[in-house]
Symmetry: C2
Subunit: 246 residues, 2 copies
DNA sequence: CAATTTTCATTTGTCAGACAATTAAACGTC
DNA sequence: GACGTTTAATTGTCTGACAAATGAAAATTG
């Protein structure tokens, strides 16, 4: 692990990169203790605050964890799927909001990925996953449910569908897509009319998954995708009309 | 933006969270300049090093950029897809290597996601994307190509396939899955025999994409997925046999 | 007056040294 | 041997300082 001492700027970034590379390459295995901040400062020939800034960068990516005390220090962290979810959701949310990604594009991506899971989910679903999907579909039909609660339930339904595929890598990838889209989805579920149709499709999907019928599940997901897109178009058209009349 | 002063530990994490939430909520728009480090230190009632550690955490996630000088400071960064790629690849790579994700699981996820793109790619592919796919398929058939170069070309081929869908959200999601799997894929492409079959399937996929035939592309992707899984199983079996004979 | 150079104030990047808080191990004491 | 005490190591934070970069204002020059 070496840094370029000729460039006295961004030292903490260079140090962070050196340690990150060592972790990715496997030179620093999981739960390995890094040298203390003072030792790192000596090794890299920088001050302790600079080392600390580098370590904080790595901590922000959940690559290390720190512990105080006599046997404390910085340890290479086993990156868990749950840790990665949060970052994935944050990043996806900001990507969508900062890059003028259209609802159509985001929606298309989401349903394309979700349909990729459908055959696997139909094949491998457990009673547990199915029960979750049923429970969420039932909750969605409760009158008086707020839009936020409906959307949260919608996310839970689709996550159960994805988790039923029994592939953590797929679950991780889709978590970002589904959760990041929730704010965008909020705007199209505010009428009782659209809720009815969505719930009907959710029920049809759950039926297909229960029957291990991947093709049927895929078909109903496609219908849901189409219906969602249409609703969004209507909402956008209405808003433009309202703006024009002002 | 408030922090909890009663807990004098993890101050930098609290400050980072406060600023991150403000960015995600939109309270701090893109290109907005944050207060100077000294001002932030005053506002949060902490020292400048603590503020700096918080800012470095945000910089590690590409949420802010910093600039020195009179009109410098920390600015809310527009998160670009290309910035997010790197983090996505790092995270995915570590998730796979640190969680004993089997080759089968990773491979299944990758091809499931890629097949989700196939219909869109067949429909929307430009001459450019097709040319890239053809060029990479041709490169793969060159004799004397190293394993690393073959795999790099393989990744380039599949990225072109995904990019042809014309959906940046899909491209972003898949970039992580495809690139993170490259180290795992490396081990199964070292025989001329397997290369031939892979190249034949790549060519078939390119043909299908050229003909706007999504179903055909999907079918050949499925074949490629199956063949890859079989190769991996053989390699693993051979290794176990070699270990047993020692 | 216009153009150029110089100066200067602001801000980040880095450093040195210090103290507080935490934690586990070493040490006594009963 | 069990239980409290001390101690050393380590991170978390603070203070104060200086260097480097950078744009704006001031001074200089044609």
């Amino acid at each position: 692990m070496k840094i370029d001492p000729t460039n006295p700027a961004d030292l903490s970034a260079q140090i962070a990169k050196a340690i990150r590379d060592a972790i990715i390459s496997g030179a620093l295995p999981v739960d390995e203790r890094l040298p203390s901040e003072a030792e790192l400062a000596d090794q890299f020939n920088v001050s302790r605050p600079t080392v600390r800034e580098a370590l904080k960068r790595l901590a922000a990516q959940s690559l290390i964890r720190t512990q105080r005390g006599a046997t404390g220090g910085a340890f290479v962290n086993r990156l868990k799927f749950e840790d990665a979810y949060g970052q994935q959701i944050t990043t996806s949310t900001l990507l969508l909001s900062m890059n003028d990604v259209s609802f159509a594009t985001a929606c298309e991506a989401r349903y394309a990925l979700e349909r990729a899971c459908a055959p696997l989910s139909a094949q491998r679903r457990t009673a547990d996953h199915l029960a979750t999907m049923r429970a969420e579909a039932h909750r969605q039909s409760q009158p008086g449910l707020t839009d936020e609660a409906f959307c949260a339930s919608d996310v839970a339904f689709h996550r159960a569908l994805v988790d039923a595929a029994g592939n953590p890598v797929l679950s991780y990838q889709l978590a970002g897509a589904v959760e990041a889209m929730q704010p965008l989805m909020n705007m199209i579920t505010f009428t009782a009319r659209s809720r009815e149709t969505i719930i009907a499709l959710h029920t049809a999907i759950a039926d297909a998954i229960e029957a291990h019928d991947g093709a049927n599940a895929d078909e109903n997901l496609a219908k849901l995708a189409r219906y969602t897109q249409e609703l969004a178009q209507d909402v956008i058209a209405q808003r433009q009309a309202a703006r024009a009349s002002k």
